[in-house]
Symmetry: C2
Subunit: 103 residues, 2 copies
């Protein structure tokens, strides 16, 4: 057993990605952002779909081909495979804790 | 887009199960308990594995063949397929909000 809100390093020069569970066809990951964003002009273009939930903090995801979404605590969104997206902004004043389910 | 912490009915005679996302080999579900527990002498015995996270409230899961676990906010546990378990207790004073990933 483990906790999603603990074990966050004091220094976070880069976004933190941690696998919490890897199973048949699914991977659950915790992501911690501290103002981090996707590099300029880069897009995520993923083979698998990703369901993502913000549990602390706040973030803005932009999509290449649809409207952007602001995610606050408890907000979730499904990102289909190959749906190009980027993290445009995360709260600079607090940690943004994400739960991502890749499937 | 949607929120995990909203849309909870005022009256909750039974535990609330809601599918948030159904994909290839994976189902993500929100469960809301308000003091609800598994019926006496019943066990969950599931074909698929289940990764479960408590986001609000508190719960106690007991297992037929291993030590029980208390889950508080942010705690998660993986329940393997056919690992018999029951929800022995959930906080009577508040809603317990779970996120379950069946895979």
């Amino acid at each position: 057993m483990n906790n999603l809100f603990t074990g966050i390093p004091e220094n976070l020069p880069q976004e933190l990605f941690q696998c919490l569970m890897e199973g048949e066809g699914v991977r659950i990951e915790r992501i911690v952002s501290r103002g981090h964003v996707t590099a300029p002009n880069e897009w995520y273009d993923q083979k698998r779909s990703e369901w993502v939930l913000v549990l602390r903090g706040r973030a803005l995801i932009t999509f290449a081909e649809k409207a952007s979404v602001t995610l606050e605590e408890g907000d979730y969104v499904n990102i289909a495979a190959h749906e190009r997206h980027r993290v445009e902004w995360t709260s600079p004043d607090e940690d943004t804790i994400w739960l991502a389910v890749h499937y």
